[in-house]
Symmetry: C2
Subunit: 290 residues, 2 copies
């Protein structure tokens, strides 16, 4: 079985092929340009690969309602040219195989549930913390959609008492993304997180906001694993800080032994930076199974 | 088809019978006493009713994991005598019919999805705001469980800027339940909400906390309807206040026309105070269908 997978990001597209075991057999990556040029390039990559299905995990917002006339479109993105672009439709016409389609973060959650840190579990949350913050929600053995799809990067939170930063989200100011995504870190400290030392106070503040959002999500959804990926989470000193704050926030309220040791509960993606592409592969496999 | 339903509350048990259309044909209510006496009384009520299945929506926390040896138990409740009580097991032994079991708020969400305000939709949130605050989560056509079950009454929130109340939750102080459940209102103002006038500042503060929690949940889960029930929500002046604050919080970010008019999105239960019992009935019907 050869399945195609696309991790469609706002900055770059990653295309690959893989099999039913989640093994990525080949991959390429190229910058996201105009939608026409970008999808054309993806289609060319897959053309002679003999794929039986295609899974796409995309930046959003997306129309994921299969009954909608605009199913498969990128909808209200500010990204030039991509607004209301029929991404899935273009790929389907070029490649003519069954397709699966979801957000990049839902795909990553699905990949981790199928082959990664949440393998064998029927629920998990996947946070990506990078240029933006996105949340994938897998519950009861399926990815969560609704009116649209999870937008958990924009939840309101209690501010850190020592943090005077006004926030960088154009919609909400000091929501999670506005306080804790890469650009917020850079704006707050006048330099990117990459150049801040491991013991810089930035990380304690960063952990605060992520812990606030995770606490709320754990209480609301009771997920069996919380997975934190994305560029900012390469700062591995964040993990113990976040776990400590979540434990303090929950204060023993949720009666589950899984929460006794947050070191195995709040974790990095087992698939590393492959979670998104592997998840798209899993979406393609699902599409083939109908 | 005659199905039995129990809304098992910490203060009172409501038992009833109904049919596949959600019609409640008979009901009784009695105080929650010792677990033995209370389940015995429920069993006696159903004994000659010819029920084909039984649905139970219960106060918690509960063990809802069907593979667990303590499935169907009330677990770590502080309620005297009920700690680790095998509620479902006792009822099963007495009545010997297929059973469905979930939290009282998940049951209410299910009832509203089957026959009420979320009829025909595959997702909704149900908040009950009373002696405590509970949240039922219905997503992708199924009730959400996880490590345990949703405990969304205890999420952290931004404080109201004029509110000096320290909060009444023994675990978290100023979580949603600690700030906005009935006892928190009574403690903050020195009198119960029932005796406060409709234009008292209490309601603007109450709406703030509910709106904070709802905003976070709408962003994380994108539910197709948010239903607010329970005694405190009989204060109907809360609805427009909450809708206004949620709209301000979201600030147009979530691209769905369903959010253009929050009057049809954030609503009281269409089944009124019957949501819980009707939901338990729906759980019983599901159990019969296997």
């Amino acid at each position: 079985m050869i399945i195609g997978a696309i991790e469609a990001g706002g900055t770059k597209f990653v295309c690959g092929i893989g099999n039913e075991n989640g093994e990525i057999l080949d991959r390429i990556s190229f910058p996201t340009e105009t939608p026409e040029r970008t999808t054309q390039r993806a289609a060319e990559y897959f053309k002679d690969k003999g794929i039986e299905a295609l899974g796409v995990g995309s930046f959003g917002p997306l129309d994921l309602d299969k009954n909608s006339p605009t199913y498969g479109h990128v909808t209200t993105t500010p990204k030039p040219g991509w607004n209301h672009y029929d991404l899935l439709g273009h790929l389907k016409r070029e490649l003519n195989v069954p397709t699966g389609f979801d957000t990049d973060v839902n795909a990553a959650a699905f990949g981790e549930a199928r082959w990664g840190a949440a393998k064998g579990l029927d629920s998990c949350l996947y946070y990506t913390v990078g240029t933006g913050i996105g949340v994938g929600v897998y519950a009861g053995g399926q990815l969560v959609h609704g009116l649209v799809h999870p937008e958990g990067g924009h939840v309101p939170m209690r501010r850190h008492p020592d943090d005077k930063f006004e926030g960088a989200c154009p919609y909400h100011g000091d929501c999670l993304e506005g306080m804790a995504a890469g650009p917020a870190i850079a704006k707050r400290w006048g330099q990117g997180g990459d150049s801040l030392p491991e013991d810089h106070p930035a990380w304690e503040i960063e952990a605060h906001y992520l812990a606030e959002a995770i606490t709320g999500a754990v209480l609301l959804l009771s997920p069996k694993k919380v997975i934190l990926g994305g560029g900012v989470m390469h700062q591995s000193q964040l993990f113990p800080l976040i776990r400590g704050k979540v434990a303090r926030n929950l204060n023993g309220y949720v009666a589950s032994s899984a929460l006794d040791d947050l070191e195995t509960y709040i974790v990095p993606p087992a698939l590393g930076d492959n979670a998104g592409l592997a998840g798209s592969l899993a979406l393609g496999i699902e599409a083939l199974r109908g």
